[in-house]
């Protein structure tokens, strides 16, 4: 069973003459342990596809399946629970909670899922050590470098052992050297866990880290 399966997904905004098609006939499969790079120009539908795959947006038509979960018919509450338990997100510019330490940023996800206590604490520490941040555990995001912040964001995405991790331009705020390091880290973390990943990027220098590159243009995936 694929970790992510989109089938003939369409997403439109507005209706009638003002209807805008953001995504059309999108069909995509991402398997466990597979890392897919989604590339395309601005406005091509990358973000829409990522949002639908992660349960942030509901498709207008089509089927979205993450592991055994068919989410296209989920209501708002079900999608919130789904995101909390089965998907990890890494946003542009890390997007950490600014008043929480690196460790607390990881524990937020565990707290939301109701996983509290020593087990979560230990997992957060293990992840931060793996990501080379053992010495930054108690630092606030403002005290971290851009690369360190992105590593914390990766740790947060992996905290609840999701079936799918979605990366939105993870290297856009980094220079090329740091970007390479972060992509290398993403690959090793994803591959080490057998998790599926979709990485949205417009930086073609980073696509060689992916197992597969999928191009998107005008809301349609390249065949």
């Amino acid at each position: 069973m694929p970790a992510l399966e989109l089938e003939d997904v369409r997403k439109t905004y507005g209706s009638g003459d003002t209807e805008v098609v953001a995504l059309d006939h999108a069909t995509l499969e991402v398997h466990d342990d597979e890392m897919v790079a989604l590339v395309g120009p601005s406005g091509s539908g990358k973000t829409t596809l990522l949002s639908i795959a992660g349960g942030l947006l509901a498709p207008t038509r089509g089927s979205v399946r993450v592991g055994p979960h068919e989410i296209s018919g989920y209501d708002r509450g079900q999608l919130t629970k789904f995101r909390r338990e089965f998907v990890g997100f890494v946003f542009q510019g890390a997007n950490l909670v600014p008043f929480l330490t690196a460790k607390e940023n990881l524990l937020v996800v565990a707290d939301l899922a109701g996983n509290k206590g020593k087990v979560s604490d230990k997992r957060a520490m293990t992840l931060l050590e793996e990501l080379g941040l053992a010495h930054r555990v108690n630092n606030l995001p403002g005290q971290l470098s851009g690369g360190e912040r992105q590593r914390v964001a990766i740790g947060r995405a992996l905290m609840n052992e999701p079936e799918l991790v979605l990366f939105d331009e993870p290297t856009s705020a980094l220079d090329s050297t740091l970007g390479e390091q972060v992509m290398d880290l993403i690959r090793s973390e994803i591959k080490g866990r057998g998790t599926a990943a979709v990485v949205v990027t417009h930086d073609t220098r980073m696509t060689h880290y992916a197992d597969r590159v999928v191009e998107i243009s005008d809301g349609r995936l390249a065949a």
């Binding site: 601005s42 946003f91 600014p98 929480l100 607390e104 939301l112």
Partner: protein, 366 residues
Amino acid sequence: MKTAWRELIRKPSRFLTAGGALTLIVVLILLLGGLLDGLYLGSTRALEAQSAGVFVYSADANDSFFRSRIDGNLRAEVADVPGVESVSGLSVVQLPAHVPGVVDVVDTAMFAYEAPNQLVPEPPATGEAFLDRSLEGDGIEVGQTLGFGPARTPVKVAGFVDGTTFNLQGAVWMDPETWNEVVRANVPAATLAPGASQALLVTPEQGVEASALVATIGQGIPGVTALTKQDAILGLPGVKDQKSIFTAIITVTFVVAGLVVALFFALLTLERAALFGMLKAIGSSSRTLAAGLSLQAVLIAIGAFVVGGLATLGLAAIIPAAIPLDLEIRRAVTTVLGLIVTALIGSAISFRRVVRIDPATAVGGS
């Protein structure tokens, strides 16, 4: 909730404006409440102290303690009403007292009473009086003989009692015979016939409600009006008006507090829309975020109450004693509870906005 708590602790400057405004509002509410309580209690403590649950006035007095006259016949009629355990007379006149060695006269409320109440023991010997302790500050001592009214009728100070002010004056408690002697010498028109009093204090039998006895007396005896103790107190000149005016001001101040919280949290929610969007994207529900807002609002309100309360205590210490400011625990409790409710309502205004924040906004760009 934990995240909201940590934001409050680690980013206190973000909440300083609301906290400061609420602190000033708390000081205002506590001072207004203190003045209301000071005025109210200063005017009514002597009646509050009465153990009897029912006050009876003559019907022609229009619920006025001062105008009422109950003669011996009416007293006997009231005493015979079923459900009445005992009756006792109470009269008051306001007269200045001359203190030996003190140039200024001291204003007093001079009571004639027959039975002990919650704060005053059995009447002292004829020619003597118990004085409210507030009069001690005017240089009066136990054993002194005071001269009451223009005639300077002598009355000896038998002792002091606590918390029995009336009309913002210290009460002087004496038996009816002494009282009548002082009144006859100074205000002859107010002299009462033997066995008469201005008001009759009625103690219901055990198991009889004061309100029921009020109705029975009112319907059964045409010459009198019966009131519960609370109604009699509120019927004192100015008391009800003071209470309603201050209560209205305090209510409006609470509304202002609610608006401050509502406005502040509306702005703060706008400011944190991106953060809330990200938290929703990683699985936080609108309910969790709203609960966090409420927690912050309540904690700010409690913090403002603590700081405002301490500031009020400081102000109370330097406010001249002549100003009737009375800071009551009961008022503090109602203030903090009112503030918490106000903060919850104020923060709830932002819930709709929180619900409408789209988690998809966390993913940006192309």
